[in-house]
Symmetry: D2
Subunit: 324 residues, 4 copies
């Protein structure tokens, strides 16, 4: 029996992500020199970055750590009242923390699989300096001169030991809507795509094929179009960065993608295209085991590492090299 | 003093539009043969059409009439309760009507400038036949074989004798959010872009430079990408359909566009790209008279007819020919 | 020691190809309904087709035969004198034949591996009917309404038991220029890309991994741009046509590609992009075994069937199914 | 009566252009910072630049001068013998000069309208340093990190007081082939597109609407695709560089374009797409006055300055500002 979760609009969007990296300087160079993000600040072991299309001050925090992985992922609520409602709903599962640079107080909690999340409302808008001011006023910042020109943070994909449990938690507690999911022949749900915006997904849970918990599959920044994704692939090869997967088109979400590992070991997607969901009563698209066996949208098989590689890495998977 | 309108989520999306046309057969051929829409039904003087990416049964109604213009524009609400709330808010300004083919009871009312609108909730989803079934299950219908491959209804632009009044009505009564607007040096608002989704606009009001009321500026269908818009321009020239404006890029919305008049005389846009708004507290972008004088996003002057041509046509403007 | 072959300009371009197919009706439907070619004539067991950008009457002949494979491939010479010079050079290796529909007398000969070739000069230009006339006079025919809109014949890839021998023959006898080649560590040349135009290749020989001779690897039609290739991939999946390889980017030629088998079994590429060669003293680019092991331009491994599948099929390889 | 000029292949391609600029530093910054060209050397009042796809050491020379305009335009011949043949043909109209940095001895001559040309054969290939080495060996240099990523020099458009005379000179003396031309109702030829490669044009003459002689209309660098042209337009606006024309599609050549003036005042095009000519007996496409009145490929009127603005500027036209 399928539960019916009443969606709400209290969570507005995926706001930022903290990535842990054992190679902070190289990770920073990857995001600035190749992806065109900009450093906006630094505090303790963390550096804050943004895409030119992000309206908030920063969307990525790089924090030095012994191993790669997810620090935390944060969602901005629609209002202070919305934030309060969600905190009430979550009960005493979490705790209030002072916001890091760039936003106000945040309610921090762990999802069922152990991932660390934050909800907040008060934020700092990016205010461009004179030289950063764009020609078009509806763009937060001028177009970067070079690199892949990642425009804005798009979505987050988390590995989970129990996809159904995790996605239900986000539906029930936070009002996320289910867009698409994969259900194997044995009834196990192995992937779930959730949204809080008109984009077909903002948060994804996919089955961890290992016994690990709380791992990160990837984060994604959005490019303007598919030619930009093809160009990013050129830039990756010119920079000697091996491409794990793509460019190609996902059947789920119809997203055009290219994946690499940033130097710290975390998987990063650049994406474009995809479809939008406007129906208030959208019926989640359910993909069967047989349908998934057809591979990507144009038939390309999904690379093996896509099912096993996540961060933090597991014993015996100590480097990206071994996974390729 | 700016009014602060509390947005709500009761209106889910722009659902369909009824176009009046004095040349119904030619209009239908334009939408099917050039734009790749599909006829799904017929009733009385009306024909119902859809884009392959529209999840509802139809998004365009072509109705034979003595003159071109807007029949009505309909928005689907988020739920029956949401529909009720909006009808309460509107008071006795409108009336319930039986839904036309494809949707349930609708509340019909006139906007301040005289345009006819409908709100409804119950709808008919498109169910593809075996031959219409897409390869990708998250697509309502398979890709059209030919033509411009218009994917889905995108937005509506209405001429108004008082833009500020009309856009405030939609904010106040229906919870629309203001994304961008143009305010002349004399304080007059001459354009307002409103949204109910994450797209930067779903409904636009622009100043009617004539003394007319209740006119249509254009409706727009979305294509997958900018190359598709360039290709549509090729198809227009091959079909002998004069292009009024574009291909080009609007500064507002950053939309890539091409405009023509369908044979009945109504202006039709094909669009791609643009940006999305996720900020729950978005600050509307205000464009000044001087900024508008810079033309389109890359400096091209806006064509003169863009400011004067609308449907129904006015005396002395009896054909598209005279306006070009 | 590398031989130095003096290029000449006697061969103007790759003009047309005859494909053998055991399923002529299905093959024809593939080329017309999916690739947008047009049938311009029929004679005996052959049907003649063209892309809308081909200036000659036809560029593809489909001939019913017990097995798939290459009928013949024809190159148009720069003039009657040029044709005579090449025939002199070839000596009595071939013979004059009456041209098939669409061109004049042709000199027919077999290449070293057994492939059948023709040289000719006199041709029939395509003359569009009133309804086929394009908007732009520099285009032979109006843009097709639907399908993948294959623009023009681009190149030919032939499997060979001895690549060095075959490419040297075309350099020596016909003035082709070598653009790129692959030379294994053992000194064996396994691929050679030759040109007679500014495109980086018009004719390719690649090593047949089997003991077969005279086989076809693929023929290619050119699309306008890379988005058209991505769209063609969508159309292939909608038509239930499995994609063997791509969309992707070849390192050699930098061509953006997608490959399928037409219903008769012959491999067909749709391509876009690539680079051009203007240097009169171009130094052929030599790829080593290690460099080839890096896969396609963005690292994707080349599909296994790409090295073994060709037409005619070999015993035990009687259907495309078995090769996938 | 039309003269029949026998084409030959002695001229291989348009090799480089010397632009005169009164603002050498700003011009250099434009070409390096916005168009992504690279400075490879300097000599006297000249700076030498290249696109990453140019195989020769440099394709653009910027020379400080009191006024903007064409220094000289150079074509590389197919061989030393070919160079000799062309010099013989030209008779004593010109003189041998020491090649500037980057190439060997050149034969310098003035065309009928006074433009200065050079023919040469010996050249210097670009040899990338370790950090400039591309991932793909068939590319002369790695992809630039930023800017518009102009790939290679494409073509040259010269204003002429007598188009028919100038284009006939290049056909007769140098073997150029005529691809397309414009002939007014009064019989006057006002534009001629000539080629020496498979591209549909390498050199263009267009009617100077003023009484000036020997002026430059524009030079063009090629981008990889049309999305790159749209992106270049974004970069131009971000850099505060007014766009004179485009992005749009020319009917002649089917080229996708965007035009600006570099800071010295010379017009510069970035282009992509277009068609190729393989027919050895191509029939030049003749456009009538009425056909030209249809505007660009999609109907946009050609900007007025396009017909009058050239460099050197004429009295009263001392700055780009006055022409806009």
């Amino acid at each position: 029996v399928a539960h019916v979760y009443e969606p709400n609009y209290d969570v507005a969007h995926f706001s930022h992500i903290e990535l842990l990296t054992p190679r902070p300087e190289e990770s920073q160079r990857f995001f600035t020199d190749v992806l065109s993000l900009q450093v906006v600040g630094q505090q303790g072991q963390s550096v804050y970055l943004r895409g030119y299309g992000d309206y908030e001050r920063s969307t990525l925090t790089l924090t030095e750590a012994p191993a790669a992985g997810l620090g935390h992922a944060a969602f901005r609520c629609a209002s202070l009242a919305a934030l309060d409602r969600r905190v009430q709903q979550l009960g005493d599962a979490g705790r209030w923390v002072d916001g890091e640079t760039g936003h106000g107080p945040a309610y921090q909690f762990r999802g069922p699989d152990g991932h660390l999340f934050e909800l907040f409302y008060e934020t700092t808008r990016f205010a461009p300096s004179a030289s950063e001011r764009p020609y078009l006023k509806n763009q937060p910042q001028r177009l970067p001169h070079g690199g892949a020109r990642a425009r804005q943070l798009d979505h987050l994909n988390l590995l989970s030991s129990d996809v159904l449990r995790d996605r239900s938690f986000f539906q029930e507690q936070l009002g996320f809507r289910l867009s698409e999911h994969i259900v194997m022949d044995n009834g196990r749900e192995t992937g779930a795509w959730l949204r809080v915006t008109s984009k077909s997904y903002d948060l994804v849970f996919t089955q961890d094929a290992t016994s690990a918990r709380g791992r990160l599959h990837h984060l994604a920044y959005r490019l303007d179009n598919r030619e930009d994704v093809l160009r990013a692939a050129d830039l990756y090869t010119e920079h000697g960065i091996p491409i794990e997967n793509g460019p190609g088109k996902h059947p789920i979400g119809q997203t055009f993608f290219v994946y690499v590992y940033e130097p710290g070991g975390n998987r990063v997607e650049l994406c474009a295209g995809g479809y939008q969901i406007f129906a208030p009563d959208w019926q989640p698209v359910r993909w069967s085991e047989a349908e998934r066996a057809r591979g990507q949208a144009w038939g390309a098989p999904t690379v093996a590492s896509f099912h096993t590689y996540g961060t933090p890495l597991l014993n015996g998977l100590s480097s990206t090299q071994e996974n390729r």
